[in-house]
Symmetry: C2
C-alpha cells in the first residue's frame, strides 16, 4: 500500500531533476529575451504539422494544458504574431492554429538555446546508465 524507500526515492528524484532542469532552461530563455519554454512546445507541435495546423483541443491533450490556460496562451501567442487562427470549416465551434513565419523563426532561435541545454543537462550525466532504458522506465510510469 505505502511506497517503499526506493519508490519514494525515485519519485523525489523525478521531481527534483525535472524541476531543476526545467527552471534552468526557462531562466536561460528569459535571459535571452525569448518566450517561455512552454511556448516552444506549442510552436513545435504546430511546425510539425507542416501546414495542416492543429485544433486547440488537440494541443490541449498532446501537451497537457488546462483548457482555459491554453485558450489564453493562444491569445498571447497570436498577439505576439507567432501563431494565427483560422476558422475551421468542418465545425462552427472550432478553429485551427497555424504557426507564422515569425513563429518559425522564434522557434528556431529558441532551439539554438534549448537544444544545447538539453544536451548539457541530459547528456553530460555519467554514462553509467542507458538513456533509452531510463526513458523507457519513465514512459512506463504513464498509464
Amino acid at each position: 500500500m505505502y511506497p517503499s524507500e526506493e519508490e519514494t526515492k525515485l519519485w523525489v528524484a523525478l521531481n527534483r531533476s525535472q524541476r531543476i532542469i526545467y527552471k534552468a532552461i526557462d531562466a536561460r530563455l528569459k535571459e535571452e529575451g525569448l518566450p517561455p519554454l512552454r511556448w516552444y512546445d506549442v510552436l513545435w507541435e504546430l511546425e510539425r504539422t507542416d501546414g495542416a495546423g492543429l485544433r486547440p483541443f488537440v494541443l490541449e491533450s498532446k501537451l497537457l494544458f488546462e483548457q482555459s490556460n491554453l485558450s489564453r496562451l493562444i491569445h498571447r501567442m497570436v498577439l505576439s504574431a507567432l501563431i494565427e487562427e483560422q476558422k475551421f470549416d468542418g465545425d462552427g465551434r472550432g478553429k485551427v492554429l497555424q504557426i507564422t513565419q515569425k513563429g518559425r523563426q522564434t522557434r528556431q532561435q529558441m532551439w539554438e538555446i534549448y537544444g544545447p541545454l538539453i544536451q548539457r543537462h541530459i547528456g553530460r550525466a555519467s554514462c553509467t546508465f542507458d538513456r533509452a532504458v531510463v526513458a523507457g522506465a519513465l514512459e512506463s510510469l504513464i498509464d
Copy 2:
C-alpha cells in the same frame, strides 16, 4: 552540441511523467479536501526537524521555492494554523517555522492519500528496470 534523439526522448519522458503523476496526485488531494502537494513538502521538512524548526531561507533552497512565493505560502499556512512562526534569537531579521499539532495531523492525512498514490504510480510500472538505478540516473542529472 545539440542533443541526440535519445537524450531528447529522455528529456520529454522526464517532463511528461513528472507532470502527469504530479497533477494526478494534486488533483486527488484536492478531491479529498486536503491542501496542495507543495504544502506537503513544507510540512514534512518541518516535521522531520523534530522540534528544531526551520528558517524560511533553508526551506527555500531545500525545496526550490522562489523567495517571494515561499514567503506568501508560509503566510497562508500560518493562517491555516498548520505552522507557526517564532522569532529567531540569533538574527534579528530571521524567523523559525514550526509545524503545529494540526499541521502534523494534516500531513498524516495527506500521506494516507499521497503514499499509496506514489506506490501506485511509481511501483506499479513493469519491473523491467531497477528503480534504484533510474533514481540514481535522475539524481546524476542534477549538478
